[in-house]
Symmetry: C2
Subunit: 349 residues, 2 copies
């Protein structure tokens, strides 16, 4: 079963040529150097022997490993990790790269160690990805080509992040487009994501002629926070449900957890979703948004695309290191994922 590896030399001998000739043929450099007939003989020999070049030797010689390093701040604890990694791997694969992934486990020291190790392993470039959107006061320090995913820094290093402005636009356009006139947003204002979403949502709603009620919660964008916020929105001072005419017909939660809280509160209050209340989420959190009853309409955080774009960007950089680094991060659209928790308002029905 474990027969000896077949080397380039073996192929060359079988074809009756020198290793150099075999190398050229197999690397497509035969034009102008090799007679087509010998080239074919070499290729045939390689095929017969089932030759596969040894990457390690190639790497040493070419000074290029075709390996990318991907270091993350915390892979374990995020429901989005898988998507980003899958996207990154996919991009790498199509250009015959492979990924070595290292989790820093929320320890900055580990990041430094990881980068050192990957450098020693001679990876061709680095992606640094955070699982939550983050501004980096200082980008990871390395002499290798670097791209940031889901985070950005003020230094001139290329970055790819979600477009929260457009997300706010999309949400507002969708809800007002459905005909909703009394619209609320439950949001937090810490961090650029919440701020951008909120501002864009507000402005775009006003453009459409509706003035949204913005209910601000604190830093904790949790189910519980959403639940309580919704409770406030949907009941009066005595704790009784407000009459239909006095409550919003649609609510946008700043993320799916908050939106889940809204659904739970509505359920508790005997409100039917989406008949009595449309609920829109954000993030398309795996196994939450599409698990609810009814399934949550939401805007997807483009994590797969983030991974794809970051790697793609990095490989472009490797191919052409002269590429200019744009001052601003590249922003990726958050597409609407329409499910069952939204509908036109009763009046518009």
């Amino acid at each position: 079963m474990n027969r000896p590896r077949v080397r380039l030399l073996d192929v060359a001998m079988r074809a009756g040529v020198s290793p150099a000739a075999a190398s050229m043929a197999l690397n497509g450099r035969s034009a102008g150097n090799l007679a087509p007939t010998t080239r074919d003989r070499i290729l045939a020999a390689a095929a017969e022997l089932d030759y596969t070049p040894d990457s390690v030797a190639q790497s040493l010689r070419r000074r290029k490993t075709n390996v990318l390093g991907l270091v993350t701040d915390a892979i374990a604890s995020s429901p989005f990790a898988g998507r980003l990694l899958a996207g990154a791997m996919e991009s790498a694969r199509t250009r015959s790269y492979v990924l070595v992934i290292v989790d820093a486990n929320r320890e900055p020291d580990n990041e430094v160690i990881a980068i050192r190790e990957l450098t020693r392993r001679r990876v061709d470039g680095l992606v640094y990805a955070t699982m939550g959107l983050q501004h980096l006061p200082v980008a990871p320090h390395t002499s290798l080509p670097l791209v940031l995913a889901n985070c950005w820094s003020d230094q001139p290093v290329p970055a790819v992040i979600p477009d929260d402005d457009r997300a706010g636009d999309t949400a507002a356009a969708y809800l007002t487009g459905l005909g909703h006139q009394r619209v609320a947003m439950i949001t937090g204002l810490v961090g650029s994501a919440g701020q951008r979403r909120t501002r864009a949502f507000t402005e775009r709603s006003r453009d459409a002629g509706v003035d949204p009620l913005v209910h601000v919660i604190d830093a904790d964008w949790s189910v519980t926070a959403g639940y309580h916020a919704a409770w406030t929105l949907l009941t009066d001072d005595t704790g009784a449900p407000r009459p239909a005419a006095q409550r919003p017909t649609a609510v946008w939660g700043v993320n799916d957890r908050v939106a889940t809280g809204v659904v739970l509160a509505a359920l508790r209050l005997g409100l039917e979703i989406p008949r009595d209340l449309s609920v829109l989420g954000m993030d398309d959190q795996e196994e939450l948004a599409d698990c609810l009853v009814p399934a949550l309409t939401t805007l997807a955080l483009p994590h797969r695309e983030l991974g794809e774009a970051a790697v793609s960007r990095l490989l472009d950089l490797l191919d052409n290191s002269g590429l200019p680094v744009p001052a601003d991060p590249q922003r990726l659209e958050c597409p609407l994922v329409e499910r069952a928790s939204t509908a036109p308002p009763p009046s518009a029905g």
Copy 2:
């Protein structure tokens, strides 16, 4: 910034010795070969120059890359992927290995291609991990050392999977231990996981003197399925809630999604959790179990440990290829994660 790499030769020259001597010193093979004084001189030189050995060259020479391949059937679409990967990476890191992860994206062809590619890259061993527990009719074909994670095959290849029998035991012991006398399980019987959980739960409950009501749902272990099952359990023929004495005081859902459905149904019926009904889940699904209100008590699928154990096992195999392969998969405990959805029954209160 991008100063030339410092090679072993540089260190040797600086210390005034041969590269061979430098190599010995740096690899700890100086005993009996090098004078302690020259050894120290070499080490000092290396430190001053900040020398780090080139892994690629080492790999070529040692015929060992210290890289492990991890191929998964579908990384993107699972909320557990992160945990397993993090565990695997952690295990690898502590033994100075690194992981190349490839996602086959549910395509068997891709698995073959991935294994071929990883073999070409000279990884030292392979882990094959599935995101859902699976029996493999035939293990992935490779001449490399291989360990299975979260799946197993009849061929003699080492495997690590969760211990569903013990999970059933734990669930039964926990619920009966709390004092519940009328206990139900909502389960599916397709696949070994559901069967084992159900059988163990039933037997262990009976040992404790309670005969559980087993409600079988179909292949789809979804929130919706759990919702409907719970509805059946908690209402009578007319759709009205059963009186307290006629309904279970505790329900175990075969997974967290099903348990979520139970919570939703109970909420809808005006039942208070855990006062009127204890709900126990299974899997500890990230961002679902701990997002509910109240947070779900559940049994954790040990995905991190699965990753850790698989890599650890593989490395043991590499260190000592004579290790015997046990006939049965190694089974890892699913620990109870106690949160807020369970309590003693009203009568026992």
